[in-house]
């Protein structure tokens, strides 16, 4: 196991920023930061806008190929292990969570990424939506913690602990 160095930590941080930058730029270029365009896709009964399908197609298409190559690496460039979700079971939390998210998304056309990105130009709707989103996430963590006091972490974090190191 290689020792983490300050240089690697710097690279790790820089890569995080750069990836966020490219991601945010991609969302704007794709038009996904305009909730009306998103709803234009989700509204099958209206003047249908296929854009979101092209966005997902491009993103998943590229990633599907690139991920295969990346995961053949022994380890990431600036980190010890790949932190990938390891669960494969379909549980009620996944289903209910997806339904709740779908309702929220379908109502106003924002998912987390575009909402946060649109803070860059002071989108008035995002000023309400983003805090509400963060509050919702905090509420879910709090609920989970109350039900299972021994497991105090957010579901997503528990998943991300599984690694592919060998």
């Amino acid at each position: 196991m290689t020792t983490p160095t300050p240089k690697r930590a710097l690279n790790f941080g820089a890569a995080s920023f750069v990836c966020g930058l490219v991601f945010g730029l991609g969302l704007v270029v794709a038009g996904m930061t305009d909730p009306r365009k998103v709803l234009g896709f989700l509204d099958l009964a209206g003047a249908w806008d296929p854009s979101l399908a092209f966005v997902l197609g491009g993103a998943v298409g590229f990633s599907a190929v690139a991920f295969r190559g990346v995961l053949r690496q022994a380890r990431p460039w600036f980190s010890e292990v790949f932190r990938l979700p390891a669960r494969t079971d379909i549980d009620s939390a996944l289903v209910i969570g997806a339904v709740l998210f779908g309702v929220g998304w379908g109502l106003v056309g924002y998912c987390p990424g575009p909402a946060i990105v649109s803070l860059a130009w002071g989108n008035a709707e995002a000023w309400v939506l983003v805090p509400a989103m963060l509050a919702g996430a905090a509420l879910q963590w709090w609920h989970a913690r109350r039900r299972l006091p021994a497991q105090t972490s957010v579901r997503g974090d528990r998943e991300s602990l599984a690694s592919t190191e060998s």
Binding site: V29, S51, V55, I90, C111
Partner: protein, 154 residues
């Protein structure tokens, strides 16, 4: 604003998203799931168990990613213009409700359109395929009801 926003801009933007996600995985070994990154930033402060300690270690890179995300938005707005969205139907109450549903739902379900919809599908994750199908289908029904049954101007 890109005039009429052509399909190739949507595709190009999607590829940029794919590049970002692939780069994050290659460089840092992390999944570019915005709900997990943002949620972890909110929830990573008050957990004392080992999982919580790991969440706290993830805070710096997650913060940098989110700053980058917003910076990327600024860059995009500077390059091609930002949408000015004014919708009579998007009341504060509705936005707040939608926000809470998105925040809670993505935390409960373990991902959103980037985490499940892009990264999960790219990895052929069974959980992500199911989650994506469900939230996409639910969203389609919700938009229909909101616009055509409730008549909301969104």
């Amino acid at each position: 604003m890109l005039a009429a926003h052509p399909w190739w801009a949507a595709l190009g933007g999607g590829i940029l998203i794919g590049v970002a996600a692939s780069l994050l995985l290659a460089a840092n070994g992390r999944i570019a799931g915005v709900s997990g990154i943002a949620g972890g930033l909110v929830n990573g402060w008050w957990q004392s168990d080992p999982a919580g300690q790991q969440a706290r270690r993830e805070l710096p890179w997650r913060a940098l990613f989110l700053v980058g995300l917003i910076a990327g938005g600024g860059l995009g707005a500077w390059l091609i213009g930002a949408p000015v969205v004014e919708r009579p139907g998007a009341s504060v109450g509705l936005l707040a409700l939608a926000g809470v549903l998105v925040g809670y739902g993505t935390a409960l379900g373990g991902g959103c359109t980037s985490g499940h919809g892009v990264c999960g599908l790219a990895r052929l994750s069974r959980r992500s395929i199911v989650a994506t199908a469900i939230f996409l289908g639910t969203a389609l029904v919700t938009t229909y009801v909101a616009r055509h049954v409730l008549g909301l101007a969104l």
